[in-house]
């Protein structure tokens, strides 16, 4: 998942509206020593591989939230509109979170009685049956699953939901399953250019629905991650008879516990109970509150102030996705009352300083840059220890296979960089005073970052040429193969907790193209062949180990990008909200667990 879209919108809004009050990467947390045990526990929990659950684990109802009571309406303060409600168009986390309330997929994540995450069947009876060496995945639908209008969900609807993603109007969502079924790139679209709307369908050899209850995916290659991919909101089911194509994006039918009663784009949204949702079929979701009353246009500063003040309606309010305003973090944490109403956790993004390997071919120079990078200072300008954590590697703590303490370049020990070592390496490479073109986006935070980066690199003996780039088209410009820059920071996050959604898109040398996400243009034969090999390993535990090894190789032997920091999120909720808990699969507070305290 690209961090681009939401980040750039945020940056501009702040710059436009707040003027002098703009987000100035508050370093309040950087000297705070409370960066302690909690974080470690969170990380430890998250680095494990999420197991696949069986039929028993996939049964509803979900484990009760202790103390939860039904009733009440929750107020939700959101900054951005939900631009997409059509599941097939959903890729960003805001909309993904909302989708957990109104749409269901074949699979989903649940937390079991021991607090462990498990991937289970959602509409399907289990997390799928694999055969044919990992190429064929079969899912059986549960009994009693219905659409908003009371009609049962059948395999034909699942087929329709997949096939409509081939249609041209679906452009925003993920393409994993489509590509696995029908070919990579945009090749898959040729298999069904008009989607299912003109009577054509995918052949049974690709997608098979032998009866009302059974769906069989025949992938071209082994796809061990299929149940994880299908758990994405984008693969939520769409009723064939209610599919309004483009218009579905603003008025989808619900299959989850809540349905959309009204939606005024950019203004407000009301969710109410979906009476045709049956708790007995759902292993993960609850339906405690009567509904959600959402309004948009609440900047982080506004939602934070309202929730911190905890007056009136704000008592039963929260923001699904707004973080605590970095400028108010310290105030919130020092407030005896408000500090009890926060949750925090990792976001799936890693920020890295890409080194354009077409231009910087000597690894010694890349190592010098990596050593020189002032990670802690950069993090300090992006919210400090509540905005993230100094990164030692390129895999996020939310990713299976993440190793705490992995730090080949000593970034954790010397978080502000090691200019001496950098200088030495540069001298060894014979490139002292090397000219280096460093690009950064023209947001206030990035401009400040550029100053500390320039400073650190200059100390290490580089001749830094700074180039400011429009933040709105940042990723488009960095995504060009011939972008003309040596150094640029980008962020990337997983689509599910597997390195297969991080390493191939970012480091596969066969994927270098305009618009692709291999920003450092690494093209290493060993990496390329390993990506091909590991992608075919069907045992997730084994593949996780192999990804880990490949990660080490990339970081230590190639070093295409200097790790900068992992992102974290701090959220606050009203005093009458119960069940607030950070979810490391949703990456925000889990909305399905919430209830209103009486």
């Amino acid at each position: 998942m690209n961090i681009a879209k939401k980040r750039r919108a945020r940056a501009i809004v702040v710059a436009l509206a707040a003027g002098s009050l703009a987000l100035t990467g508050c370093s309040s947390g950087s000297k705070n020593t409370s960066e302690g045990s909690n974080t470690d526990a969170d990380a430890a929990k998250q680095q494990a591989v999420i197991p696949l659950g069986d039929a028993a684990a996939s049964q509803g109802p979900a484990v009760e939230v202790p103390g939860a009571k039904p009733g009440g309406t929750i107020r939700v303060y959101q900054r951005d509109n939900f631009d997409h409600l059509d599941p097939a168009q959903i890729y960003v986390s805001d909309e993904g979170l909302l989708a957990t309330l109104y749409t269901r997929q074949l699979t989903t994540y649940k937390t079991d009685k021991n607090g462990k995450k498990v991937l289970v069947g959602d509409l399907a009876t289990d997390s799928g049956t694999v055969s044919d060496g990992g190429k064929t995945w079969k899912f059986t639908l549960k009994d009693g699953i219905k659409f908003e209008d009371g009609k049962p969900i059948t395999s034909a609807d699942i087929r329709h939901s997949i096939e409509r993603m081939y249609a041209k109007f679906i452009t925003d969502g993920p393409t994993y399953v489509q590509q696995w079924l029908s070919g990579g790139g945009t090749e898959y679209r040729k298999a069904l250019p008009d989607g299912p709307y003109k009577g054509k369908h995918l052949p049974d050899s690709t997608l098979e629905t032998p009866d009302d209850k059974t769906v069989v995916f025949h992938f071209k290659d082994p796809q061990p991650d299929a149940p994880f991919a299908l758990a994405m909101a984008a693969y939520g089911v769409v009723q064939k008879s209610k599919d309004t194509k483009e218009k579905y994006d603003a008025a989808p039918q619900a299959t989850g516990p809540y349905k959309i009663e009204s939606f005024k784009p950019g203004k407000s949204m009301k969710l109410v109970k979906n009476e045709n949702w049956d708790a007995k079929t759902d292993p993960f979701r609850h339906q405690y509150v009567d509904g959600f009353d959402i309004t948009f246009n609440h900047q982080a500063s506004d939602s934070t102030k309202r929730l911190m003040a905890d007056h009136g309606e704000a008592k039963t309010a929260l923001s699904f996705t707004n973080a605590v305003d970095p400028l108010q973090t310290r105030e919130v944490l020092q407030d005896a009352d408000a500090s009890k109403r926060v949750v925090k956790g990792y976001q799936p993004y890693v920020w890295q300083m890409n080194m354009n390997m077409d231009r910087i071919k000597d690894k010694k120079i890349r190592d010098a840059i990596t050593y020189a990078m002032p990670n802690k200072q950069i993090l300090g300008l992006n919210g400090g220890s509540y905005g993230g954590e100094v990164a030692g590697g390129l895999m996020a703590p939310t990713l299976a296979g993440y190793e705490k303490g992995y730090d080949p370049y000593g970034k954790l020990k010397k978080p502000n960089g090691d200019p001496e070592k950098a200088k030495k390496l540069l001298k060894e490479a014979g490139k002292t005073n090397m000219k280096i073109v460093y690009a950064y986006a023209n947001t206030e935070a990035n401009q400040k970052v550029s100053v500390v980066v320039e400073d650190a690199l200059t100390k290490a003996g580089f001749d830094v040429q700074k180039k400011e780039v429009d933040s709105a088209s940042w990723y488009a410009q960095m995504g060009k193969v011939k972008n003309g820059f040596d150094l640029y920071m980008t962020g990337w996050g997983q689509d599910w907790p597997s390195a297969s959604t991080v390493i191939p898109p970012s480091y596969d040398g066969t994927q270098i193209a305009d618009g692709a996400s291999n920003y450092s243009h690494i093209n290493d034969e060993h990496v390329n062949s390993e990506i091909k090999r590991i992608s075919r390993i069907t045992d997730i535990k084994e593949s996780t180990k192999e990804w880990q090894k490949l990660h080490h190789y990339i970081v230590e032997k190639v070093n295409p990008a200097a790790p900068v920091y992992y992102t974290k999120q701090l959220q606050i909720y009203g005093s009458k909200i119960g069940g607030a808990e950070y979810s490391d699969t949703i990456n925000y507070i889990d909305p399905t667990r919430l209830y209103v305290k009486k």
């Binding site: 509206a17 041209k168 945009t186 483009e246 784009p265 246009n297 900047q299 007056h311 618009g515």
Partner: protein, 325 residues
């Protein structure tokens, strides 16, 4: 009068066409592809091409412009569905009809503006008159310095301060919120009271200063002296003669303010988290949502032009020289 309005409407149409063309071509002159908005993770040149076709961006810009303009006059058919005139198309960002979205946001903006204007006109003109009447007095001096201080305030400063004082720390009032007037007039009033007050504070200062200075200027006019020479009382001279003359500059400024406020009070809406036209404008620019940018731009321009005509009509009402020439 009819001829006046016909002429003005025609002129406004020409201006709107110029603005639309300017905005449209300016949009395409920036190196930013609106298709990126709808391009997911696998944003390859191929998928961009599909989006270009979906959005009609594959056609030459002048053709796109003509189609857009034709849509406004005659309506258009989109893949999403038919779009009757005046059709501004569907949002690139969320596939919503532009015109409906603007109409949906408009009541918020109107409520903000009308309420705010009622407050700042009453207070501003009242204070201005009092200051001009008691020119040089303590009242005049204190009003003048107060308005100087207040007019240098900014909504994004004053807004959070007032919110902090009345809402967050004391809980005297709820956070500002828009409720439709037709739904609940009391909630409408209470919910917008803080934005009105904050917005009005800054405008009040301007109107105080402006009405004071134009009144003082008018009081020195010869015809005002004539009125006094005829034995008219101070009040008559002030209200009948001087006040009438100062209406023209006041109406001019008020018309301009109303026009731009109806076009969206960006900062006020932002400060109080209200979803009006101003927020729509900001969001559309951030999202490079071309049809929305065009829609909001033309809407705002129409508002400004509309109030220009109203102001001109008001001139005719106020000044017989305009009316009868």
């Amino acid at each position: 009068m009819l001829q006046f309005f016909l002429r003005r409407t025609l002129g406004a149409a020409v201006i709107l066409i110029l603005i639309s063309a300017f905005t449209f071509f300016l949009f395409f002159s920036i190196p930013q592809d609106p298709a990126l908005l709808a391009c997911g993770k696998n944003c390859t040149p191929d998928s961009l091409k599909i989006i270009h076709e979906n959005l009609g961006l594959d056609k030459p810009v002048p053709v796109q412009y003509l189609e857009f303009m034709r849509g406004i006059v005659m309506g258009r058919d989109f893949a999403v569905g038919p779009c009757p005139a005046p059709c501004f198309g569907y949002s690139f960002a969320n596939n919503q009809p532009i015109f409906d979205t603007i109409l949906d946001r408009f009541p918020t903006t109107v409520s903000l503006t009308v309420g705010g204007a009622a407050v700042f006109l009453t207070l501003g003109l009242g204070a201005g008159m009092l200051a001009a009447w008691k020119r040089g007095s303590l009242i005049d001096k204190s009003f003048s310095s107060a308005s100087l201080v207040l007019s240098s305030m900014q909504i994004y400063f004053l807004g959070p301060v007032v919110l902090g004082a009345l809402v967050y720390s004391t809980n005297l009032m709820d956070s500002p919120k828009y409720t439709a007037f037709t739904e609940n007039p009391a909630a409408w009033f209470v919910g917008l009271l803080i934005p009105w007050m904050v917005m009005a504070t800054i405008f009040t200062a301007n109107y105080t200063r402006m009405s004071r200075s134009t009144l003082i200027e008018q009081l020195q006019e010869e015809h005002v002296r004539t009125a006094k020479a005829k034995g008219m009382s101070g009040k008559t001279v002030f209200f009948r003669y001087a006040w009438r003359g100062s209406l023209i500059p006041i109406v001019t400024i008020f018309g301009m303010d109303l026009g731009s406020l109806f076009g969206g009070a960006m900062i006020t809406e932002q400060t109080f988290s209200l979803a009006g036209i101003g927020r729509l404008a900001v969001d559309s620019v951030i999202k490079t949502d071309l049809p929305m940018i065009m829609g909001v731009m033309l809407f705002t321009a129409t508002m400004i032009l509309f109030f220009n005509v109203i102001v001109d009509a008001a001139y005719a009402f106020i000044d017989p020289r305009v009316r009868l020439s």
